[in-house]
C-alpha cells in the first residue's frame, strides 16, 4: 500500500485526491502539472482526481527565473 512521488516511497491513503496529496507532501510552490502513471492531470482536476494505490506520481513545480 504505497505510492511513489517524485521517486520517493510514500504511504498510500485511500480516497486521497491529488490536492490532498500535495498538501500532505507540503508542496507550496506554484504547482504546474501532476503526472500519474504517465497521464497528465491538470490543475483544475486536482480536487476531483483520486490517487490510485501503487501509482507513480511526478509533481512538477515552477520556480521564477527566465
Amino acid at each position: 500500500m504505497s505510492i511513489i512521488v517524485n521517486g520517493n516511497n510514500i504511504e498510500w491513503v485511500k480516497n486521497e485526491t491529488v490536492e490532498q496529496l500535495i498538501k500532505r507532501m507540503k508542496y507550496t510552490f506554484p504547482l504546474l502539472v501532476v503526472k500519474i502513471n504517465e497521464k497528465v492531470i491538470l490543475k483544475k482536476d486536482f480536487s476531483i482526481t483520486i490517487v490510485p494505490d501503487k501509482s507513480k506520481i511526478a509533481i512538477i513545480h515552477m520556480i521564477s527565473g527566465g
Binding site: N6, F29, P30, L31, L32, V33, K35, K39, V40, L42, K43, K44, A58, I60, H61, M62, I63, S64, G65, G66
Partner: protein
C-alpha cells in the same frame, strides 16, 4: 557532413514556426539559436523594453537600451538571417488569452520569468491548444550544477528542469546557466520539429 540529412533538416526547419513567450534570458537566446539552426518563422512575444541590467545574459546590445525587446531581437535575428519571417507581439500575456499569439506555431517555448506566470501559461496552452508541443524551463538561477539539469517529458509538455535550483528572487541570474537552459530548450524544440535524431 551527411549532406542528405542536412538537406532534409533544412527543408523541414524552413517550413516550421516556433512561438516564444518572453524574450528575456531564455527567450532571446532560444530565438537566436533557432534562427541560426534555420527555423523558417518565429513568433516573438514580450511587453518589455531592453534595460542595461539585461545585458548580463540576454541577447541585446548597449545601443539597444530603451528599445522594445520584440523590435531589438527582430533586428538582431535579421543580422544573422534576413530571410526568417518574424511576427512580433508587443503585449503582456494575460490569463484567459495567453494562447492567442501561438495558434499557428508548431512548437511553443515558455520563456517567462515569474513562476506564477510560467505555470498559468503552460496550463492555458495545454488546455486550449491541445496537441501543441510546449517546451518550458524551470530552475535557471545560480551557476554550476549543470549535471542537475534534466529533460522531463509529460505528454505534450517537455521541460528543461532543475528541481533543486533556487528561485531567481533569492539567487543570481548568470549568463552561462541561463543560456545553457535556453539552448537546452532550443535543442528540445528541434527534436520536436524534426523527430528524434537516430
Amino acid at each position: 557532413m551527411d549532406k542528405e540529412k542536412n538537406k532534409k533538416i533544412k527543408k523541414k526547419l524552413k517550413k516550421s514556426t516556433a512561438g516564444i513567450a518572453g524574450l528575456g534570458g531564455l527567450g532571446s537566446n532560444v530565438a537566436i539559436s533557432l534562427a541560426r539552426a534555420g527555423i523558417g518563422k518565429l513568433i516573438l512575444v514580450d511587453f518589455d523594453k531592453v534595460e542595461k541590467s539585461n545585458l548580463t545574459r540576454q541577447y541585446y546590445f548597449l545601443d539597444q537600451i530603451g528599445k522594445l525587446k520584440v523590435d531589438a531581437l527582430k533586428d538582431n535575428i535579421k543580422k544573422i538571417n534576413p530571410e526568417i519571417i518574424i511576427e512580433t507581439f508587443n503585449i503582456k500575456l494575460k490569463k484567459g488569452s495567453m494562447e492567442k499569439p501561438f495558434k499557428n506555431a508548431d512548437v511553443v517555448i515558455e520563456a517567462l520569468d515569474k513562476a506564477e506566470t510560467k505555470a498559468a501559461f503552460i496550463e492555458e496552452i495545454l488546455i486550449k491548444l491541445k496537441d501543441k508541443p510546449i517546451v518550458a524551463a524551470s530552475g535557471v538561477a545560480g551557476y554550476g550544477h549543470s549535471e542537475r539539469i534534466a529533460t522531463k517529458k509529460l505528454g505534450n509538455l517537455c521541460m528543461c528542469y532543475d528541481e533543486l535550483a533556487k528561485s531567481s528572487d533569492e539567487d543570481v541570474l548568470m549568463a552561462p546557466r541561463v543560456i545553457l537552459m535556453a539552448n537546452w530548450q532550443a535543442n528540445l524544440a528541434l527534436e520536436i520539429i524534426l523527430g528524434e535524431d537516430k
